[in-house]
Amino acid sequence: MEEMPIKIVEWDAVTAESHILLIEDDLDTALEIMDDLKARGYQVTHVDNGRRGLDLAREQQFDTLVVDRMLPELDGLSIIETLRGEGIRVPVLVVSALGDVDERVRGLKAGGDDYLVKPFVLTELAARVEALLRRPADPRETMLQVGPLELDLLKRSARRKTREIELLPREFKLLEYMMRRPSRVMTRDMLLEEVWNYRFSPRSNLVDVHIGKLRRKIDAPGEIPLFYNVRGVGFILRVPN
């Protein structure tokens, strides 16, 4: 697969200026996350205490909240529940050292939009924050288009310019997911969770194989590639400038 080392600037151009509230009591972790998010062009405000985090989230308008599960004074889930109870719909990414199935379900039930288990790779966090910041294309849309690529959700057919592309059901599902989120980094875990509904990371390069198969159908020899591999992070579907 063709590799395209995407510079950080490239995939945060759309989300720059977004203001993120980070509620995390471990200072080292907080600094790491802040450095990474700031380097991607985000504005980040950090508090290390649940009570103050809740107050801040009420007072100011943030684009996304990154909330640790365990916090002094007020835990992460209570913050989310309180905010949701007050009708504040800001997207929330829950970050937790508690990784079991129950905890995840509880985090999402409380009103979290996504759940990330520690230890995680910073790019995974950044990709998920970006996914929260940028809502996917209107789900009522029945015709998706990315550059020359067209996907007809009613006829279940795919076309690149005039070339008809035969897709298996799982390939269709994967392509639809990616085309709803063009120019956005999707990590392997995100794809497994969203396309296949799997909440584990297999050791095999499963996702790569699936993407590879799909890519060979979409990007025929001689055509401008639409699939890119973001090294160490995941994949991106985009029309190059």
């Binding site: 990371s201 095999s204 198969k213």
Partner: protein
């Protein structure tokens, strides 16, 4: 005498706190109380009936005499007094003013009503010293001519009988109580000695002597039985600790390998005159190495959660046919790349109560392994069937298989068979499978596919809903 070590006061404090001694005290108390009740019964039966007899006698005498003519009364009194050699009986006649007329009393007994009933009173006999009052049971009656008749009987005999009974009680009860307490102390001392032995052994264990066991005397008493079962528990704990230690070593080894590689790579890159591209490549490789280390840690945490938590929040009614078909769908491209035929054989639906995500993970893991170890051009079959009304999933491959002597062990944490050696985190994957299947009450059986491996998952639907 009982004290093996320490001062006597310490022994007494120990004694007072000991259960055995308290039981002995309670027993002695109960024994004492029942003895007292017994003595009360005897007392009532003897002293009590004697009093009754006396009372009846003098009351009857007084009644009969009161109806005699005056002379006969006087004669009765005289006869009674002179005929009483033991000086136990009293009889006297007083005139209407209370002056003595006949008999052995000088004054009317104080407070004795002339009602013909027996009362206890104190009497000053005529021939005795002034201050020698006697306790007497007496009856007083007014005669027809206004004279007063008093008949009484010394009750000191009865008192003596009472005193004898009490001293008998003391003689019997006090030694018995002492014996009970001494017995209690002895038993308590014996018990506390055994307890002390156990305590000393426990202290040694707590100080880190994990091979130490509780003493067993071979008497087959309760202490031996208790010590024996505690020792069995200690054996198990020791075994688990050893296993944990081995696991710890394995974890350390598993983590050290990628980390050492990362370190070496970074060091080499730092030394060399690296171009930006080479630096980037080195960083990427280092990241991959670190990701491997992280993946091991994550897998360890997941196994621990599954084993400790017994999480069943995600359990719902699911269809195994759907699970295996999803796995087939997920792994088909991977198998295709290796030119392996991944075949799915299902026969209708197989509803069970379980966690969809976890089962995908477990069965996916097994299929993943099968793909990994089956040579190019090989064949893997995933079969969902039914046996004795219970669903069975069978995963067959024609890879190298697993040696019979290794089949038991591959599901224990970190076990690496010849087949899995060199494959990162393999041992963990199968422990994860084992943890998930245990949670679902699914038994795993590794068999021979001649050639290759046939893994069978038998779902115990009877127990899985509990």
């Amino acid at each position: 005498m009982f004290v093996a070590s320490g001062s006597f006061s310490v022994f007494l404090i120990d004694l007072a706190q000991g259960t055995t001694f308290r039981l002995a005290c309670a027993f002695a108390g109960f024994f004492g109380a029942s003895t007292v009740v017994l003595f009360l019964f005897i007392y009532w039966q003897t002293a009590g009936s004697e009093v009754n007899r006396i009372d009846n006698l003098i009351a009857k005498d007084a009644k009969i005499v009161a109806e005699l003519p005056s002379d006969a009364v006087r004669q009765f009194v005289e006869t009674r007094v002179t005929g009483d050699f033991h000086r136990l009986s009293y009889a006297a006649l007083f005139d209407a003013q209370g002056h003595p007329v006949a008999g052995n009393l000088d004054t009317l007994p104080e407070g004795l009503p002339p009602d013909g009933k027996v009362h206890i009173t104190r009497i000053q006999p005529t021939e005795r010293a002034f201050d020698e009052l006697e306790s007497v049971r007496a009856v007083e009656r007014r005669l027809g001519d206004g004279e007063l008749l008093v008949i009484g009987r010394n009750s000191e005999e009865v008192e003596r009988l009472r005193a004898e009974l009490i001293s008998a009680l003391e003689l019997g009860l006090i030694p018995a109580m002492i014996a009970a307490l001494a017995g209690g102390m002895f038993l308590s001392w014996r018990t506390s000695n055994r307890v002390k032995e156990v305590h000393r052994a426990a202290e040694r264990i707590m100080r880190g002597h994990l091979r130490q066991r509780l003493p067993v005397r071979g008497t087959r008493d309760e202490f031996d039985k208790l010590s024996h079962s505690v020792n069995l528990m200690l054996d198990e704990i020791e075994r688990l600790l050893d296993e944990l230690k081995a696991t710890g070593d394995e974890i350390a080894h598993d983590l050290r390998t990628p980390l050492t590689r990362v370190r070496a790579r970074l060091e080499n890159t730092r030394r060399a005159d690296a171009t930006p591209e080479e630096l980037e490549a080195a960083i990427d490789k280092a990241t991959i190495g670190l990701d491997q280390a992280l993946a091991i840690i994550t897998a360890l945490l997941r196994i621990r959660e599954l084993e400790v938590g017994r999480r069943r929040a995600g359990f719902t009614q699911i269809d195994l046919a759907e699970v295996v078909s999803a796995i087939h769908d997920l792994y088909q491209p991977l198998a295709e790349e290796k030119d392996i035929a991944l075949l799915l054989e299902t026969n209708g639906s197989a509803p069970i109560y379980g966690d969809h995500d976890l089962l995908i993970e477990a069965i996916g893991n097994l299929v993943d392994n099968a793909v990994k170890f089956t040579p190019e051009g090989g064949k893997i079959r995933v079969i969902l069937a039914e046996r004795d009304g219970m669903p069975v999933i069978r995963i067959e491959d024609n890879g190298p298989g697993i040696a019979p002597e290794e089949r038991e062990m591959v599901f224990t944490r970190f076990y690496r068979s010849g087949r899995t050696k060199g494959t990162m985190g393999m041992g963990l994957g199968l422990s994860l499978v084992a943890a998930i299947t245990r949670l679902h009450n699914i038994s795993i059986d590794i068999g021979d596919n001649k050639p290759g491996c046939a893994i069978e998952l038998l779902v115990n639907t009877a127990g899985s809903a509990s």
